[in-house]
Amino acid sequence: MTETKHAAAPPDVGAALPAIELAGVAKEYRAHGETVAAVRGLDLEIAQGEFFSLLGPSGCGKTTTLRIIAGFEEPTAGRVYLHGADVTGVPANKRDVNMVFQSYALFPHMSVWDNVAFGLRRRRVPKEEIRARVGEMLETVDLTGREKRRPAELSGGQQQRVALARALVNRPRALLLDEPLGALDQKLRQAMQVELKRIQREVGITFVYVTHDQGEALTMSDRIAVMNDGRVEQLGTPREIYERPATRFVAGFIGTSNLLAGEVERIGDGRAVISYGPDGRIEVPLRPALPAAPGRRLELTVRPEKITIGTERPGGALCAVRGTVTEVVYLGTSTNYNVSTATGADVVVFTQNATSADHVAARGDTVWLSWEPRHSYAMGAAQ
């Protein structure tokens, strides 16, 4: 049975409890006599009303984590709490969360209306109330007038909205979404991202969103947990994760990151100064707990859009690195350059085509890349 974790707390502070809490959750599978860990000791707290994303490559454990929250999988270790109540071992049909499946998993033999009413009927909600709530929910997802259609008679985007309505109509404590936009084309996906965010604000329900698409996670989430190999690599707001990636993996997975490494020449004024190739110089703001000392190699990242490309060595306090243009990709609103630096690192540069003086370099040109020191982000000691 469920058991309240914070028994001493008065019931009216229930809203302050995390909507979902995972404590030391692990999941192992046995396959061909070998034990494979899908999730390794996960601790997460997802706040009420939060749009929370689990982001990572396939096989990182994000879907398993979602299925553990839903109750389709039991963790091999750890506890799952919904609003403070321990639901570990409680089957899916007795958990107050609902799922939007990757392929929607709509009931193909039922109309849109019956799909959406399914959960309410199972819970024996009075007929009159079912009618009101289903009608209202179909209006929210803009499907009024299609009640009698079968899922097969709907477009992908419409099926997606039925799946959403079918889950949300039950007013669950949390909505779990497993790559819900994966099957839609690019344009529809972007429209649905905005739509999902609007619906989430409107209903105020906690969303746990599983995706491998970093753009999707950055656009919609309040917080993101970047997962890799069954662990959370970094947990933070989209801005934190993008601007200050905690690990090499996060830096590589989120957006395009340029990884540079060099030997620290000196440390001063809260910054490490690295000499990079002939005439090149990089300054990196230091963070506490970062092992940097003169003579040690340090790895850092710079986002492509922070870099300016030019033919002259920039002066002043700017970081400057020399390199050779290996590729120029014209994208209409912007141009991407691939530059190979003197020490062999590949650096990507995005420039906006804002002025007509846009064509600064061609393939084979020697160029100078420069950026403000604050945009250098130290990752840690380089191998």
Binding site: K94, M110, A167, N170
Partner: protein, 288 residues
């Protein structure tokens, strides 16, 4: 030949062998049999086309009870097949894991034994002093006056036994095709195991049951070997009548008329069945 012309002709060329086959070995004999069913005469004087429709009315009035019994036996055996096959197909599809094809092979295994041998074995099982009923009777576990062989029960059980795989396979295919995520969605939406079965799995598997019913009921109602071997003289089906009229009495027109009557009954019956419980409407009915 030009490319586009060849492409337009290709589908017709592809169905040509099959169409010729059907024409030569199905439609032509069928037409000859229709003609035969309206003839009069006998083996000695020969048969003449007289459009003797009475063959049909005679057949129905003489053997009406045999038609009724055939359909009744086939109905009972079809129900038995459905009841036996559904759980088996369900288990193989949902819990068969890596060995699904092995289990399906086991279902089909009796089919590697010749038809007659299978029925004779079944007779051995049902016979009064056989290796199954004999010891039970000797130990007083069965009443001494209980006979299974030469009863309607024996015929129905033989039919069900012989046609079981034709129910298992289509039901299995239908169950196997159900997306496990759809079943999970039912659980996610608070359905109990029974409700998930009743509202999702069962309705989605009904097209398989529908196909299985047709694949078992039709050949069962025309079967005569089971009734011949297991039913004795008092439980004959319309198949036995047709067989004896044709081969024993050489009453070719009457046998043909009986065959077409059975065919008509089955076609009309299936048409009504399909209209009343056609795939989509089966689902519709099961939805609530």
């Amino acid at each position: 030949m030009a490319g586009p012309a060849r492409r337009r002709l290709a589908p017709y060329l592809m169905i040509l062998p099959g169409a010729l086959w059907m024409l030569a070995f199905f439609l032509l004999p069928l037409a000859l049999m229709v003609s035969l069913s309206l003839q009069t005469g006998n083996l000695v004087d020969g048969f003449r086309q007289t459009f003797h429709w009475q063959n049909y009315t005679d057949g129905l009035s003489i053997y009406g009870d045999k038609f009724a019994r055939s359909l009744w036996y086939a109905l009972l055996a079809t129900l038995a097949c459905a009841v036996l096959a559904y759980p088996a197909a369900y288990w193989i599809a949902m819990h068969g894991g890596r060995h699904k094809s092995t289990y399906l092979f086991l279902v089909l295994l009796p089919y590697f034994v010749p038809f007659v041998l299978r029925i004779v074995s079944w007779k051995l099982v049902l016979t009064d002093h056989g290796p199954v009923l004999g010891p039970l009777r000797d130990h007083g576990l069965l009443p001494a006056d209980l006979h299974v062989l030469d009863t309607g029960f024996a015929v129905v059980s033989g039919l069900a036994y012989n046609f079981l795989p034709f129910m298992v396979l289509p039901v299995y295919v239908a169950l196997e095709r159900i997306d496990p995520r759809v079943v999970e969605a039912a659980y996610d939406l608070y359905a109990s195991r029974f409700q998930a079965f009743r509202h999702v799995i069962l309705p989605l598997s009904l097209p398989g049951v529908f196909a299985g019913v047709i694949m078992t009921f039709v050949p069962m109602s025309a079967d005569y070997v089971n009734a011949e071997v297991l039913g004795g003289p008092r439980n004959t089906m319309i198949g036995n009548v047709i067989q004896s009229e044709y081969f024993a009495n050489s009453a070719y027109p009457l046998a043909s008329a009986l065959s077409f009557t059975l065919m008509a009954i089955l076609l009309v019956g299936i048409f009504i069945y399909a209209r009343a419980l056609g795939t989509r409407d089966v689902l519709e009915a099961a939805r609530r």
